[in-house]
């Protein structure tokens, strides 16, 4: 997975479709990130934080009971064990360091499930910055615990009341806020989406989990790479991170799993929203449709542009699973391995379960992008009749 072209495009996808007010900030951001990323001092400071603060490297866990049950060899990349509970911290620590380097004193972020918001609030607390988080009103309801965590960490959480009142609308509000405060605020985007340079920058910052997973898989599988690598796709950052470790080995199949109600790659057509040209769920004239998923982190009608490119090039296959399948996978991993997954990550497992016959005898690496603590309150209602 290389650099996008000078206009920030991966093939036909990407770009910088933003109001003129923001363009100078994006150009500056690209220059600043490029300089920081090439600066050994910046890299070692980030590595230090990832190790000493976030707990990297995250382990690779072989699932013996689950493997026996499904008939394939399942390995989990344990991003759930990171500080703050998901892969989001990798991106956030990098961007927060960059923000500080750029002299910004305020972080602005959107969040869906609240994992990116919690990570951003955490980094802001760590570095003594102000932090403003936009979150859809519906998501604030279903991820109440994370709302409290963000506030506890000192962030201001503001509800997005428009549209579907989920992640899409939180991004709209965050962008509007950024337009108003661009001189002192840093927009800390949470996935490989939005205008260039974000899709590229966030993927570079998530690359760490893919590199680790590659090394760890070689160790676990007698110097072999896994046959299949699976990750859930909302905006696509955890998937981009893990795929980056395997994309150059064509013998490894890469599978991105979208929610059936938010399958931008699966059911979308190219469109322009949130600064990027990418696959998008939209109506005939181009109004953006509302996604519908049990998982707040994947409840998004778009997808990062590099995923559109990887889909078009055929290197990655994108599949979808239903909410009902996800609920079963959520319970399954809890029961067989003692690991409660985030609902987002449960999408990947749900796909493995649905395809276990096809995967028989294969080694499958699943990016367990986050832990399910945040989802427990929501799942108490969903599973009320069963538990």
């Amino acid at each position: 997975m290389g650099e996008p072209d000078a206009g920030g495009r991966f093939g036909d996808f990407g770009g910088r479709y933003v109001p003129e007010t923001l363009m100078p900030a994006l150009i500056e951001l690209e220059e600043e990130f490029r300089a920081a990323w090439g600066d050994p001092e910046f890299r070692s400071e980030l590595d230090h934080l990832l190790t000493e603060y976030a707990g990297r490297p995250s382990p690779l866990t072989e699932c013996h009971r689950l493997s026996a049950e499904l008939g394939c060899r399942i390995l989990l990349k344990r991003e759930d064990l990171n500080h703050t509970g998901s892969h989001k911290i990798n991106n956030v620590l990098g961007q927060a360091l960059l923000a500080r380097r750029m002299g910004k004193t305020r972080l602005v972020a959107e969040t869906g499930a609240g994992q990116h918001g919690v990570a951003a609030a955490t980094a802001a607390a760590l570095m003594g910055m102000e932090c403003v988080i936009y979150m859809g009103e519906v998501d604030m309801g279903r991820q109440e615990l994370n709302v409290f965590r963000m506030r506890l960490l000192g962030a201001e959480v503001t509800a997005a009341h428009s549209g579907s009142r989920t992640l899409k609308d939180a991004v709209n509000e965050a962008m509007r806020h950024w337009v108003s405060t661009v001189e002192d605020s840093y927009y800390l985007l949470g996935s490989v989406m939005g205008p260039h340079p974000y899709p590229w920058m966030v993927r570079e910052l998530q690359r760490v989990l893919g590199s680790e997973a590659r090394e760890q898989s070689l160790l676990a599988l007698d110097q072999q790479l896994p046959d299949v690598v699976v990750a859930c796709v909302g905006g696509g950052s955890n998937a981009a991170g893990i795929f980056s470790g395997f994309v150059d080995n064509p013998e490894v199949s890469l599978v991105g799993v979208e929610p059936a109600g938010g399958a931008a790659v699966g059911h979308g057509v190219p469109g322009i929203v949130h600064g990027m040209n990418s696959f998008l769920l939209q109506d005939d004239v181009g109004q953006v449709l509302e996604a519908e998923s049990i998982s707040a982190g994947l409840d998004y009608p778009g997808v990062g542009p590099e995923h559109s490119f990887l889909s078009q090039s055929g290197r990655v296959t994108y599949e979808s699973v239903t909410d009902a399948q996800v609920i079963e996978a959520f319970v399954l991993l809890s029961r067989t391995e003692g690991i409660i997954p985030a609902l987002e990550s449960a999408h990947g497992l749900a796909w493995i379960v649905a395809n276990s016959e096809r995967l028989h005898g294969k080694s499958v690496l699943l990016n367990l992008s986050g832990r399910g603590d945040k989802d427990v309150a929501q799942m108490m209602d969903v599973l009320a009749d069963r538990l």
């Binding site: 109001p19 709209n172 337009v179 661009v182 181009g286």
Partner: protein, 248 residues
């Protein structure tokens, strides 16, 4: 508009959301009240450059079934008597097709376009389609732009240069932002094209104040708020008349 400015007067360009209530009549009332040109918004589901008032108007228009096609169809039968421009977002144009959209504007008698999320860097396919058909693409110059960037903006702009009055989305503000006159002054120093300030011009007094430097104003949220609150084309016309008076 050009002749108004050449004779030392100031240009007034109100904005109205297409598909909001009795919007075609409202556009007529705006023209009669002394507008030099009118911007018609084609509502988009995710208007990131717009504040609460235009968001709400867009939402209502979309709920009423408004589409780019329906707005352009209705405009083609309206006889307004002043030049019309549309203001919208990239995805609606992209989905329509750059060329087909430019064709449709010509057929509807629309002479200009503003696409809020197409900056210089992404402007090529749309501007090529528009230029080829004589549709004028109005470019925005923002306070965050360097002189070098603003110079490229004014070169690319057709019709007039839209000076973004402040750091922020559309909406009225209590007082005129200092950035408004400043950006107008910077742009005026670079071009002979008319420079109109928009975003944050909410009252006739503010319009008059910024016109000490600028060639005119674009007024959006104030007009749309009046339309939302009163549902009355006459009431919107009255407001536009007040701006006209304050600016002369």
């Amino acid at each position: 508009m050009r002749s108004r400015i050449d004779s030392g007067e100031k240009a007034l360009v109100p904005y109205m959301t297409g598909g909001l209530g009795d919007w075609v009549t409202t556009v007529g009332a705006i023209a009669s009240a002394g507008a030099d040109a009118i911007e018609v918004g084609i509502p988009f589901s995710d208007p990131v450059m717009d504040g609460p008032v235009i968001q709400e108007a867009s939402r209502r228009a979309l709920e009423a079934g408004t589409t780019p096609g329906s707005v352009l169809d209705e405009l083609s039968t309206a006889d307004v008597g002043v030049p019309l421009a549309v203001m919208t977002y990239a995805n609606l144009v992209y989905r329509f097709g750059w060329d087909r959209f430019a064709d449709a504007l010509v057929v509807s008698g629309v002479s200009g376009a503003i696409v809020a999320d197409i900056p210089l860097e992404e402007s090529e396919p749309w501007c090529a389609a528009a230029d080829a058909r004589g549709v004028e693409t109005i470019m925005l110059g923002a306070p965050t732009g360097s002189d070098a960037r603003l110079r490229r903006v004014v070169v690319r702009a057709r019709g007039f240069v839209y000076a973004v009055g402040l750091l922020g989305v559309t909406g009225e503000r209590e007082s005129l932002a200092e950035t408004s006159s400043e950006i107008a002054r910077r742009l005026k120093a670079m071009t002979d094209k008319p420079v109109l300030v928009g975003v944050g011009i909410g009252s006739p007094d503010q319009a008059a104040e910024v016109c000490e430097v600028a060639d005119g104003v674009v007024i959006g949220s104030a007009v749309v708020r009046r339309a939302l609150e009163t549902n009355s084309p006459e009431a919107v016309g009255e407001l536009v008349g007040e701006f006209r008076q304050a600016m002369s």
